[in-house]
């Protein structure tokens, strides 16, 4: 658990949908988190290599580098960010998709559209800090 005056947890939201990013940003910032964004796996990698994050929220279907490719590349890298928790948030609801997500290195899986309370509850668990 962090000390009371610690900086708020930092979350990277990776999704090619501007409205999803905006929604998550508003929900999470209102709850006291710091939020950064990326539009696909390549931009996510650029950000992750340069800044510390407590949690990644990652879409799957994104242009140029999808979410699973990004997570695999991240987990395989020697970088200190390689083990940052990742929540996959996607439109796919099947069992195979969940397994694919786990295999790629996701820690958790949410199906869109995600409600505010559901998002916050999972973020709180995965960052180890209540909102």
């Amino acid at each position: 658990m962090k000390a009371e005056n610690a900086a708020p947890p930092r979350i990277l939201i990776v999704d090619d949908s501007s409205l999803i990013r905006l929604y998550c940003r508003e929900v999470l910032e209102r709850a006291g988190y710091e939020v950064e964004q990326a539009i696909n796996g390549i931009e996510a990698m650029e950000k992750v290599l340069g800044q510390e994050f407590n949690l990644l929220i990652v879409d799957v279907n994104m242009p140029r580098m999808d979410g699973f490719s990004f997570l695999r590349a991240l987990r395989e890298s020697a970088h200190q960010a390689a083990s940052v928790p990742a929540l996959v948030m996607t439109t796919e609801a099947g069992q195979q998709d969940r397994e694919d997500a786990r295999a790629a290195g996701a820690n958790f899986y949410l199906v869109k559209p995600v409600a505010e309370f559901e998002l916050l509850r999972h973020v709180a668990i995965l960052t180890g800090v209540p909102a």
Partner: protein, 207 residues
């Protein structure tokens, strides 16, 4: 000075010197992925190569070569290319689906005749991807096809995708449909947010 200069352009040093010359397609069948890669890259804009590119794409497993095949189709960008790319929207492989969409997004005129069909496809994933294709259409057209979709679409993520594109391209013509959506989706927080944001974007312009 430590700088040296060769008088002629450096000849390729790597062992595979593919000596890229006039476009021809037989290299697409070569067992060496480097040859297939080099060949694919010479075939952009070569309309007669589309069938060979299509055949190669079906069998290709090397991601880099697949992308080069798609780039070539994208650069040709004619009706035939579009027909080759569309089926990949249904691929099980997320990378292929996304690559197909990227390629098709660059071809707004060529894809136009297929929009109605794609937006009413049985597969909701295809419908989601198809909304992206409306992005590069003229605003009036895009608004029309996306509003038509929203009027009858029940899958919430398809609606979300359509609203996303309307946030960028939607004209005032979209407002009545969006206001109906506001009521329909009042119980789905993200969609409610998406509709409100998009209405604000569209209504918030003066001119």
């Amino acid at each position: 000075m430590p700088f040296i200069k060769r008088t002629a352009t450096t000849p390729p040093k790597s062992k595979e010197d593919h000596g890229i010359s006039a476009p021809e397609t037989s290299g697409l069948q070569n067992p060496d992925p480097e040859v297939r890669w080099s060949t694919a890259r010479t075939l952009g804009g070569v309309a007669s190569a589309v069938p060979a590119l299509a055949a190669a794409l079906e069998k290709e497993r090397t991601p880099r070569v697949r992308e080069a095949l798609m780039t070539a189709l994208m650069r040709t960008g004619n009706n035939d290319s579009v027909l080759v790319l569309i089926p990949y929207l249904r691929s099980q492989d997320a990378g292929l689906r996304v690559a197909a969409i990227e390629a098709l997004q660059a071809l707004p005129e060529a894809i136009m005749p297929f929009m109605t069909q794609l937006l009413s496809d049985n597969d909701s994933d295809v419908r989601i991807l198809a909304t992206e294709l409306a992005r590069n259409m003229p605003a009036k057209e895009a608004t029309r096809v996306l509003c038509n979709l929203l009027e009858t679409e029940s899958h919430s993520n398809v609606c979300g995708a359509a609203i996303e594109v309307l946030a960028e391209v939607g004209t005032r013509d979209a407002l009545p449909t969006l206001k109906t959506c506001a009521e329909r989706f009042s119980n789905i927080p993200f969609l409610s947010f998406a509709v409100a944001t998009t209405i604000a974007r569209i209504a918030g312009t003066e001119s």
